[in-house]
Amino acid sequence: MIVAKGLTKVYGDFKAVDGIDFTVRRGESFGLLGPNGAGKSTTMKMIASTSQRSGGDLLILGKDPNKHGPEIRAHLGVVPQQDNLDRELKVWENLMIYGRYFGLSRKFLKGKIEELLEFAQLGEKRNNKTEELSGGMKRRLTIARGLVNEPEILMLDEPTTGLDPQARHILWDRLFRLKELGVTLVITTHYMDEAEQLCDRLMVMDKGKIMAEGSPAELIKKYSSKEVLEVRFGSENNAAVAKKLEGIGERLEILPDRILVYAENGEKALEQIVKKGLHPVTSLVRRSSLEDVFLRLTGRTLVD
């Protein structure tokens, strides 16, 4: 569905995307993961065929977006980071006008709108103006709008940023249904849990480059240990204590507020620490997550 080779985008002197290669297959749910400014949104705009690439090759649905932008866009669904609904118009009208942009008939859209309102759980709000909707409802409407042309690829840029946990879970449920339907999804996020929930395959980006690629499980296996032991000795002591911990576990990561010990067995690592006569204020053993992968790859946490 999408093939990128050496894809590059330059703004003046700044390389927002720096020669990346990736492929997205039909029916796949593909995630772009990385901190703000990693080049995710720029990559998305190039895939969405609204921003021309500065270099490299890009094929979307078998076509070059620099030459066939409108043809490609006619078969894509886009959910931008910032909701851009028409505030003056009612909920159903937003779906109607968007469908009209694709040249769909009013008759077809009438039925489609009913389906989409139900899908987005907005049936009761159909006659409300969009400015009267909550953040989660607006998001669901924007996603429903992106589905009006039954897109080959649905692109979602930070779909749940700024939503409360309940609204996020409703949204994940809706997106999961689309995935079951066989819609190809391309998602950017800086939330690890979101990436783990929704993506079959991930591309971790930082500073315009790809740091790693694979399924969430593969990435964790490759770049992290099975378990992580988090110990706290108080912010002032962490750095000093860390020296005494060398040799325990596979690797240490010293953060300002805690020390992460990467080990096959977290409990065993904790025993070793206690044997040395060190007594952490708090300790926690957990499974490795994508957050750890990211920390390993970039030396930074995702959400600063």
Partner: protein
């Protein structure tokens, strides 16, 4: 192919390749943009009609009748161009209506489209291009412009300021002035990052002087020569002068006649070219 999404939520799914023909939007995209703009306008139809009829009525009563009586009484009933003051004033008021009507539908909608709601970006995410947005917004603006001029004409006709026969040509001239000016304003609006009072400044330093110094209330030649240039660069004056010549037969030289038409043409062509460029760039960023 069609399948059920789940038991509680039925959604048919045939796929974009089977239901969307890109060529339709490529051919008709501007019409879809205009359709959306008109749907937006209809939310305000009562104020558009009220403004369209109320504004001319106020002007006609205060300036047309009030000042007109004063002028006709002191200078004689046919002192300017051999017609009544009201007849002299009518083409100018129509030009104002045309310019104002078209302008209202390009300035605020453009801020909404690029800054406030970012709806132009959502259009551009579909097969719609920047050029089609420009053309569609202008098309809708011209629909409003023509309607507004027409309503104004009805008022003028009721007050006996214009004749039935002169209505089509005055409608054309005033709408073309609106077209020329609005296409430039559309490009200008798309060039500014945020409102920040820019439109208030434009109103004070462009629109108002244009209205006051374009021979609207008296022949432009009555003004000192150092103020007459405002009229020469103003579509308002070109429309007013042309309207006077073509409605009640104000004497005019043929080169000036050609100039008036050319100004509309040049403004329109330049405005569209500029707007197409600015829109395409801004959507790309």
């Amino acid at each position: 192919m069609s399948m059920d999404l789940s038991t509680d939520n039925k959604m048919t799914w045939t796929g974009a390749k089977n239901i969307v023909d890109p060529q339709v939007s490529i051919r008709r995209g501007a019409l879809y943009v205009a359709e959306n703009r008109i749907r937006n306008m209809l939310k305000w139809w009562s104020s558009i009609i009220a403004f369209g009829l109320g504004n001319p009525t106020l002007y006609l009563l205060s300036i047309g009748i009030g000042v007109g009586t004063l002028v006709d009484n002191s200078l004689g009933p046919n002192a300017i161009d051999g017609v009544s003051y009201l007849t002299f004033l009518a083409p100018a008021l129509l030009a104002t209506a045309g310019i104002q009507g078209a302008m209202d539908e390009v300035t605020w909608p453009t801020m909404e489209g690029f800054v406030w709601d970012r709806t132009f970006f959502s259009m551009n995410a579909t097969a719609i291009t920047g050029n089609q947005i420009v053309n569609g917004v202008m098309l809708a603006a011209m629909a409003r412009c023509v309607l507004q001029v027409f309503l104004y004409e009805l008022c003028l006709l009721a007050f006996g300021a214009i004749t039935l026969e002169s209505m089509p040509i005055l409608l054309l001239v005033s709408s073309l002035a609106g077209l020329g000016f609005a296409s430039l304003m559309l490009a200008f609006s798309a060039s500014i990052k945020d409102d920040d009072g820019v439109f208030a400044l434009v109103g004070r330093f462009v629109i108002t002087p244009m209205f006051m110094f374009s021979g609207t209330f008296y022949p432009i030649t009555s003004m000192p020569i150092y103020l007459q240039w405002i009229g020469w660069i103003s579509p308002q004056w070109h429309a007013t002068n042309l309207g006077r010549a073509l409605s009640y037969g104000m004497p005019i030289e043929s080169w000036l006649l050609i100039l008036h038409w050319s100004v509309f043409l040049i403004m329109t062509v330049a405005g569209f070219a500029w707007a197409h460029r600015v829109f395409t760039r801004r959507l790309e960023a």
